[in-house]
């Protein structure tokens, strides 16, 4: 990734400077993560990544959350894609290997499968997510055809809550913030480390998705500890 590709490259915060949380930006970041973890990259998207067009996200993660190591790892994985003859297909096969076929030895992105280590699909975590979605007036789009505890769905839901948090005022804002914090702590941070651990054991051609999972885990952890 070329630093110069970032429109924000020249606008770094000073070291140690404490920033107020911009929930709207966090929402946007969650939507990006939901997208890239929800489905395989197509040719056009892959080209954009290889052209450095994801730099705003990377820069933000480095600058606002101090995730230098995680971003560097993902950046490195992207750089190494040039060594593959059919990078899109190989990434798609990695995606499959990790997320789509083997729900026991792979790294399936469903919270229910990490309940007690041996849960099945549509477990209690999925039921809790469905209840959350229902109470908030949402449902998973029919064509997505994934349970509510799919990581991408959960991140997308988180994005909507962060956007609402950004727009909330007064006591509702604090209530919303606490709800988001609880969601992060109990519904995401509770199993993401296990997912990352599983992904590390899966043999992949590229480090792109393992690096992305590690980044998502670190991000959720940091966001759950963000200042009000």
């Amino acid at each position: 990734m070329r630093e110069s590709a970032s429109p924000l490259a020249a606008a770094r915060p000073e070291m140690g400077e404490r920033q107020p949380v911009d929930w709207e930006s966090e929402s946007l970041l969650c939507r990006w993560l939901a997208t890239v973890l929800g489905t395989e990259l197509d040719d056009a998207s892959l080209e954009r990544y290889r052209n450095g067009e994801a730099a705003p996200f990377f820069d933000y993660l480095r600058d606002a959350h101090g995730m230098t190591h995680e971003v560097a790892r993902l950046d490195e994985a992207l750089s190494r894609l040039v060594m593959l003859r059919a990078p899109r297909l190989e990434l798609a096969a990695d995606f499959t290997e990790l997320f789509l076929v083997d729900a026991r030895s792979g790294a399936p992105p469903y919270a229910s499968l990490y309940a007690g280590g041996e849960g099945g699909f549509h477990g209690e975590a999925a039921e809790r997510m469905e209840a959350r979605l229902s109470e908030a007036g949402y449902a998973v789009r029919r064509e997505v055809a994934e349970p509510a505890d799919h990581l991408a769905v959960m991140l997308d839901y988180l994005a909507t809550r962060l956007q609402m948090l950004a727009e909330a005022e007064g006591p509702a804002r604090e209530e919303m913030r606490q709800d988001v914090g609880a969601f992060l702590k109990h519904e995401l941070c509770s199993w993401l480390p296990l997912l990352v651990s599983r992904s590390a054991a899966v043999k992949t051609v590229s480090d792109f998705y393992p690096a992305l999972l590690a980044l998502a885990d670190a991000y959720c952890h940091r966001l759950s500890h963000s200042p009000p």
Binding site: P7, L8, P13, E53, F57, G120, V144, A145, V153
Partner: protein
Amino acid sequence: MTISRRSFLKGAMAGSAASLIGPGLLTSTAAAGVTEQGVWKTAGSHWGAMNALVKGGKVAEVKPFGADQYPTEMLKGIKGLIYSPSRIRYPMVRLEWLKNRHNGDRTTRGDNRFVRLTWDAALDLFHEELERIQTEYGPWALYAGATGWRQTGQVHSCGNHMQRAVAMHGHFVKKVGDYSTGAGQVVLPYVLGSTEVYSQGTSWPLILENSKTVVLWGNDPYKNLQVGWNCETHESYAYLEQLKAKVEEGSIRVISVDPVRTKTQNYLGCEQLYINPMTDVAFMLGMAHTLYNEALHNQEFIDAYALGFDDFIAYVQGDADDGVAKTPEWAEEICGVPAERIREFARLLAADRTQLLFGWAIQRQQHGEQPYWMGAVLATMLGQIGLPGGGISYGHHYSSIGVPSSGASAPGAFPRNVDAGKTPEHDNTDFQGAASTIPVARWIDCLLNPGETIQYNGAEVTFPDIHMCVFSGCNPWHHHQDRNRMKKAFQKLETVVTIDYSWNATCRFSDLVLPACTQFERNDIDIYGSYSNRGVLAMHKLVDPLFHSRSDFDIFTDLCRRFGRDEEYRQGLDEMGWVKKLYDECREANKSFSPAPGGDQSTSSMPEFAQFWKEGYVDFGPGENWVRHADFRQAPEVNALGTPSGFIEVSSRKIARYGYDDCRGYPTWMEKAERSHGGPNSDRYPLWLQSVHPDKRLHSQLCESEELRATYAVQGREPIYMSPQDASERGIQDGDLVRVYNDRGQLLAGAVVSDDFPPGVVRIQEGAWYGPVGPEIGALDTYGDPNTLTLDLGTSKLAQAPSANTCIVEMERFEGEVPEVTAFGGPTMVEI
């Protein structure tokens, strides 16, 4: 200058990064709390009918159907089947095949990388391959003949859908026979005039009333009646309960002829007559010798109803070409039963009314035709065929055979064939001299030896050169023998397409994998009681198809759309249209039906479809008692059997004319290619491995249900049952991991030491999923599929059926690093 987080958002959205954010995955609905109390629905399965509580779009609870008084505990595996981590969630294609199609590397098939496809892309590929095979080769290059134990339901029966759709596109190689009764269903029409294995048998009440002795010959009905071809009613268990009471009071003597103390024996508390594995024919010949020489046989019956006895008895007496009299002493040396015990047993059966109940295991071995034929000869000598509680049955352990049939008409099914008057897109019927139909168990021979000609049932079969296979709801990587031979054969295939709902080994060895939904995710209708035909059951869709899975109906309709014949395929009806059509046709056919006396007369008129669908079930009432072959006994000239002569053929001139060295004109004893207890190769591999039908699965179905599997697996592996002596001699403790091996392969299993097993006999139930540690030939199977070790050999030139129970092995306590079980996941990447 410091970054403003507000400026980050603006910057990102203004730049091209925004295009890296896709559409949201959520949609707005009316806000609502989870207040749904759930709804109870009716569903059916091979394991019986059930009521399921569906709550929040999920199956929350499964209860046995009210009419089922003896539900199987396998129902506990239903939720685990639906929500199994092994589910196929998306259409998938093997990466190497996608890149290079049929020119790609096939050596890694079964252990390679896949990628996800959209349904459109997947069905396009499927169609393109069918086109390529038909145009580049011809119908001889496509095998879509294999069908298996599908999921239940008359509309969605997956074999019908696959074969109709593929047949509308072009002709293909089909199969004959099956893996359960391959030898029996070929030989018995020569002897008794029908397959017998799939025929209604004498009603249980008549057996209970009239039999003095019941012989269970290699037969474990208490285990096997848990499942049925259609929705199982479990009515047979009421009769087994009565039989148990009669054994206790001493009014019926039940003897289990078996090397193993079976589940049925333990339930009934009955006697066992131990016999060495695979030696039943020798034992029965010794009995025939006793019956004949002590004049205990029924010569009058033989004279009136049978042909060819003289040729057979000459063989028994030692007057045939082998010159060996089949005395009990001769038999004892082979079967391990003392000669005097053989005589006593023969006398016992001749003394009073005796019902012989044969299981299927003894014909799933080399020369499997012989014990079935010999059983029929014994029954003929006893002279009780056609009497209530006498004669022989080959099916009382299967699908409610023996439960009186209601007499009503059952619902039909979605058609398997192309509609009358229609022709396929590719109407080429030139198989270039090769057979268009092959014996099912010889298909791996066919892949390995195209062009070779074999003998089969009086004809010659030349193997076609198959390049592509299609499987749907059929798991040959469970039911065929010798996995390592299969690995070699699959490397010859250009394309394999599999439609299924879980990542079993057949999927892993395929190129294109399409996810079907389970039977609990679509609407259907089923027969309640395969042979009793007790009623009609509604199979309500419990939940929507999980992930991206689809019903077989939808999958193959969309395949046919690619060649413009989807409307013809579904005959203009949708799923519920078909459910209603089958019900309405059944209702029309039953207009004149009256329940048997004692049945609910109000059921004489089936309700309108809407009422049936709401109530979930129509009961036809119990049937009337019936005696197999009673009509033949009463008037053999009028009600002739389906044999060439119309009589029981103790010797078959027709089979004799075939001139087969492994199936002569009358039943004979022949040594096996390998046999324990002093037989060939028993010095190297002294243990007989029997691979019986499982106790807690239907073949391989439900093995993926983790909750159920946890109730029987040992250290996560399939159990291997063994005697205390065999365990002790090898330093094996109950619960140990064991490596089981022979020249064909090796597997890991978990030791269960049991007094039910004699020395020299071990059991691994078939249906255990295959999961090798790697793609190489001979790789250790990590879960315990017995067909890693079994012999892939035709029973004889007559039936060419599976010989799975001709298998000897050795075992040892497993030492070293224990590999993870790979049987229940998808394919994994290997170094190329």
